[in-house]
């Protein structure tokens, strides 16, 4: 039997055909969970290296957790939204499809690990004077993780195109699922911060204020007013 995730890179057709037919759903779901966790752990380990081995270890645990939690928190809504929008899928099929998207994204992330490591190693060591380096790394990792998350939905769209439903319905369901991933994924990642690590605060697994305020409040009350004051 091939390693989990192998079928996403080779012979995805067989996997997709089985998902559409509703066969071996539990087996595929478990394999996708393993592939997602492994890929994210590899990238997570690299992500934390800027701050040292401790954060690298924490991130290797936390990044898989972000993806698994995002998939788990959205799967119920994804199934309901699909049914409401006219795509009557089984819950198991939706579970495999939603996990498939993030598993593909996770493999893409793992493939970017050498590049991320290169950028981390060529950045100045963390400290109050390395604020610019921190911000640049933060932007880079956010772009890579977000980009791979979106890239993973390509696999989802390919799978959805095989379903027997009007293109308009498929597009609507796809859009709703992607928006749900993005909104929930952003908040889960925010709650499980730090990933890159602060230049002022010590390394911790979770911040004490992890669930005190959400990412969107932060964007609207801190970032946007700060940008507006520049203009």
């Amino acid at each position: 039997m091939a390693i989990p995730g192998w079928e996403l890179l080779h012979g995805v057709d067989t996997l997709l055909a089985e998902v559409v037919a509703g066969r071996n759903l539990v087996r595929h779901w478990v394999r996708l969970c393993v592939a997602m966790s492994l890929g994210a752990a590899v990238y997570g380990a690299v992500l934390g290296t800027w701050h040292g081995a401790q954060l690298a270890f924490y991130d290797a645990l936390k990044l898989p957790l972000v993806l698994l939690l995002t998939s788990a928190l959205t799967v119920g809504f994804a199934w309901t939204a699909a049914v409401v929008l006219g795509l009557p899928l089984r819950f198991g099929q939706v579970a495999v499809l939603t996990f498939l998207a993030l598993a593909a994204g996770s493999l893409m992330l793992a493939s970017l690990a050498p590049i991320a490591l290169f950028f981390n190693l060529s950045a100045p060591t963390p400290g109050p004077s390395a604020r610019t380096a921190h911000n640049l790394l933060y932007l880079l990792h956010t772009a890579l993780v977000g980009g791979c998350g979106l890239g993973g939905t390509v696999a989802l769209w390919k799978a959805m195109r095989r379903l027997d439903a009007p293109l308009r319905t498929l597009r609507a369901v796809y859009a709703v699922w992607v928006v749900a991933f993005a909104l929930v994924g952003g908040e889960v990642a925010w709650a499980l911060r730090p990933f890159v690590g602060s230049v002022y605060m010590p390394v911790v697994f979770l911040r004490p204020d992890a669930l005190d305020g959400n990412v969107y409040e932060f964007i609207f009350t801190d970032i946007l007013p700060h940008l507006a004051s520049w203009l």
Partner: protein
């Protein structure tokens, strides 16, 4: 657009390396076709020849300062490109596979070598222009900007091979993002292997110090501003 099915069957293997490079320009997919059908494609030979072209291109860039910097730049240009290729290899494989490419070891190596070869050919074609601007530029900032634009042109044209090759293997859409990633990584590789275009008299060939490429670009312009201010102060 040319696809593998458009090619005549059993495309003969060019005898010399120049023939292989010529074929890359005229029938870019023939190289990939031979690799997929078990014919001789010799990707490692093509990468070796491309390395030589990168070195020549680097030497031309070294004319900005002249002297032994020509040799230093000739050494660093292949290092930058090959290091970038190495770092971006896993993402090329995974991104294209997710986009639908069906790879074998031979076809992947052929596409990689074809991309490296096309890039080498374009850089070789840009070499006289590179030499002209490098020899005549007075400011490091303008030489850096020119190198950046030439590099963008080379990458854009090398995409001609890579895009076709990826499409022929089944990848659909989005792979231009990989090229953008390749470009960003190459800029950081050039920063890590700095100084490439010029160094202070008696300065080290490699500068050890962690820096992002954006900071490095900023520093180049800052130094130019300082020099200009000093000259203006002397005049007055």
């Amino acid at each position: 657009m040319e696809t593998l099915s458009d090619l005549p069957p059993n495309v003969p293997q060019p005898r010399s390396l120049t023939g292989v490079f010529n074929e890359l320009l005229i029938r870019p997919l023939a190289f990939l076709d031979r690799a997929r059908n078990g014919g001789q494609a010799s990707p490692f030979r093509m990468i070796a020849a491309s390395t030589l072209c990168y070195a020549l291109y680097g030497a031309a860039a070294g004319f900005f300062q002249g002297g032994d910097q020509i040799l230093v730049a000739a050494l660093k240009a292949p290092l930058i490109i090959l290091f970038t290729l190495l770092l971006c290899l896993p993402s090329l494989y995974v991104f294209s596979a997710v986009a639908g490419a069906e790879w074998t070891r031979r076809s992947f190596l052929a596409v990689l070598a074809g991309f490296a070869g096309t890039l080498a050919l374009v850089l070789l074609a840009l070499l006289p222009i590179n030499w002209l601007f490098s020899s005549s530029s007075r400011h490091l900032s303008s030489a850096t900007i020119i190198q950046f634009f030439l590099w963008l042109i080379a990458l854009g044209l090398a995409w001609r091979f890579l895009g076709k090759g990826l499409q022929a293997t089944g990848a659909r859409g989005g792979m231009i993002l990989w090229l953008l990633l390749f470009c960003v990584v190459s800029l950081q590789a050039a920063t890590v292997l700095r100084p490439v275009l010029s160094r202070k008299p008696g300065g080290a060939i490699f500068v050890y110090g962690k820096k992002s490429f954006l900071e490095q670009m900023g520093n180049v312009f800052e130094e130019e501003d300082k020099e200009a201010a000093q000259k203006a102060a002397k005049k007055h």
